[in-house]
Symmetry: C2
Subunit: 284 residues, 2 copies
Amino acid sequence: MIIDKLIDNCRKKSFICVGLDFNEDYLPTYIAKKDISIDEKIFEFNKKIIDDTKDLVGCYKLQIACYEAYGIEGLIAYKNTVKYLKQNDLITIGDVKRGDILSTANMYAKAHFENDFEVDFMTINPYMGEDSVSPYYEYIKNKQKGIFVLLKTSNESSKDFQDIKIDEELLYEKVGKKIDSWSKDFIGESNYSSVGAVLGLTNEDDFKKLKKLKNTFFLVPGYGAQGGGLKQLKEFYSNGLLGVVNSSRGIIKAHKNICEDENFSKESRKAVLKMKEDLDKCLS
Amino acid sequence: MIIDKLIDNCRKKSFICVGLDFNEDYLPTYIAKKDISIDEKIFEFNKKIIDDTKDLVGCYKLQIACYEAYGIEGLIAYKNTVKYLKQNDLITIGDVKRGDILSTANMYAKAHFENDFEVDFMTINPYMGEDSVSPYYEYIKNKQKGIFVLLKTSNESSKDFQDIKIDEELLYEKVGKKIDSWSKDFIGESNYSSVGAVLGLTNEDDFKKLKKLKNTFFLVPGYGAQGGGLKQLKEFYSNGLLGVVNSSRGIIKAHKNICEDENFSKESRKAVLKMKEDLDKCLS
């Protein structure tokens, strides 16, 4: 099961996920000025950050929107980055948040678990229910793939629907129970399932409600730029939850106003080490 | 407002949306056998269908999964198809079902309302709430763009969450009310809003519950291959709802086992005319 490999990686290196959410403004001057195409610039930027952090982090996550925004060229950079991560035997999450009817979900599985955009994990939106999730089961079972299903997200408006009260619980708790039932067939040796869930670090009060999901490994966005910090991390772990914590801007633009030459990615490395200190405080 | 243009188009031609959901199995033999790249095959296939149906239909919808499954080449075909539709002044819906935090939604707007993949409407998933929708408002207001937000979908498992009972209503009714409130600033001369909603034709009983959404124009999947037919259409219109009805497989693979040469798209045209008869029965 891919989840065992991910958790093993996290235990050896750290429970940090580096979010490679590219933005042109983040390019150090020496790459920005080069006379090469945008896809080459993006790939060079990503590669430098990967090379300088790969011994320290559990996995990488690519927000595909940041690449789609640059059209075909952006997606060529996405393709080359996930390929490079694979060549280096690093675990990659495609943050694509797909959710669609069965026949369409089959096409998304082809797109993101095979061919050009192949990653180890995809993020999935649950609004359309189980038949928008089940087409991935075959890949999880037989092809060492996994998914993270949106449960409680890190944005302010997550409350619009996810916090709706139904009887004595909130909608996201119901979603959590469904994810738990979907995940049962894919539990690895680590006792966690390759069907995981996305849980924002920004919603401190929610951790208690989700501690009953014993086999669920979380992908946790919201650290750093989005407002989550040491306090929320401690709360997360003290409830017995386990997950990999994503940071994007905090790591990949750490060099801005500090270093604009080939050494820029050393600043990403420093940011990872700093984040690792926070995590170590919670896990020790 | 783009919604006025769409409704005007539908009134002049028909309330039919042709779903260009490509699949290699649909290629007529004469294209399949050509010694050209897959992106050229896809584009030739789509172009023929567009040319033979464009005087009859209100708009086109592309399910992006069907293109992503072919990687970069598939997305080149997607790009060329939406460009061709634009050149012909035809209205295009990018069925991408995106839903993400504000900064990411901004990138999706760049991706699908500008640059390579520019379409007139995008489909949006509401699970993350209003701040995953609001980044599109600026494009709706100032750049003649629109969105269709998932409300009640056409798949069997839509009941998993969308049909959860909360007080005296179902979750999707609550989503409907939110969509209604989001749509208020974008109502055109037609009295409909450029913020529309997706409503599956398969859930006949749901139409009554949504008749209160007076300014909501619907994108209606589920006709044909997914089980919706004349009976459901009549129910939809008799509740005073208005929307454009999508058919994909029923139109774009109509030639299979009938015609495999250059005349294949004449069968798509016949399928559209047949569907138009159904719609005329409901609207007259």
